[in-house]
């Protein structure tokens, strides 16, 4: 729900239900990074009720477009984090497998040298 933007659509308060700090803080972070934003913040009106109010004030652009762009940026950022993470885990597993093989070969070569002597 969008409040407060009837007269001036560059400043609005968005009320999201069933949300908490998890998404609100992340969206607030990406909103802040946008140069069109003059002010943004979030509040939780009551801790027992799962509702978040996100306030956005921009330099002229409609607030809901800026919010949509910020959410899109957040999605792209998370996608990038996920792909980087997957790659890092694969590399770690591969390098561990290589290390395990190297240790095995070192042990076997050590045994050979002992036997020859």
């Amino acid at each position: 729900m969008e409040h407060g933007s009837f007269t001036d659509n560059s400043a609005a308060t968005f009320s999201l239900t069933d949300e908490d700090h998890t998404i609100a803080n992340a969206v607030r972070f990406t909103l802040n990074q946008d140069p069109r934003v003059t002010f943004c913040g979030y509040s939780i009106p009551h801790p027992s009720e799962a509702r978040v109010n996100i306030r956005v004030q921009t330099t002229g652009d409609p607030a809901r477009e800026v919010l949509k762009d910020a959410c899109q940026n957040l999605m792209l950022m998370c996608r990038h984090v996920r792909s980087t993470f997957d790659k890092a885990v694969e590399d770690f597993r591969a390098s561990n497998a290589v290390k395990a093989m190297k240790i095995d070969s070192q042990d076997s070569s050590g045994d050979d040298s002992e036997e020859s002597e």
């Binding site: 998890t22 607030r28 972070f29 802040n32 140069p35 980087t84 770690f92």
Partner: protein
Amino acid sequence: MAEGVGEEKKKFSIWDLPDVPMGQLPPHLELQRSRVSCNKDAPIHTESIQYSGAYASMGIDNSSRLDRFSNNFRVEVVQLNKDDMEFDMIGIDAAIANSFRGILIAELPTMAIEKVLIANNTSIIQDEVLAHRLGLVPIRVDPRLFEYLSENDQPNEKNTIVFKLHVQCKRGSPRITVKLDALKWLPNGSELVKETRNATSDSSSKPETYTYFGCSQEIIPEFVKNPIIPKYPDIIIAKLGPGQEIELEAHAVKGIGKTHAKWSPVATAWYRMLPELRIDCNCCIIGTYRR
């Protein structure tokens, strides 16, 4: 005992800053923007300067565009075991890292026992305590293979896992400890029969049970390779004295940690900022080696 070389530490003075903005923050502001300093009494600069126009008066753009983020972001895995994992994320803000932590704890689905149908319980463990303990048991199954069970759905093979527990301690035998390996998986669904009031219903049809399994869960190839069992078969559920018996059926469904902590897939998840030690040139370094 090593002593620092006796040279004067270069003191930074703001009169040395150039008049024209150089496109980079002066060192003391860069320290304030990018590091949390731990002073003697409390850490300072803990709030991260996220506002894109924070340094606009100096002509420096604090906004982080996606391409800059993508170039600078790195993940380094420190350790990866079957049950735990530690990794470093470099180039990400604490807000997003905290959101990941919150999602890990509260919003990843798992399977956990929700309904416990108790047919017989003559042990000293109360029904509800037994049901609570069963709910907290971790089950070794991939939750992505199942669907959520909502109130209007009937429990079927796509959204329920059925377990059975039937233990008895005979009179004259010593006390027994009921561990989780006594919990058996029933791939064909519930075996407890619902009581139907209608006596005239045809007796040739299968009696109605508490779940409506269309087919057995055993035929799914994933479960042929890894049958569904609790993850740790040596967890103690109850203890029985002579003459006591427990007979129950437990239904496990998919859920998320927000509803109840038993559905949280992690024991815990936490993050901290990477510490950076800066040693002042002038101080004496007295060190002992720790092996």
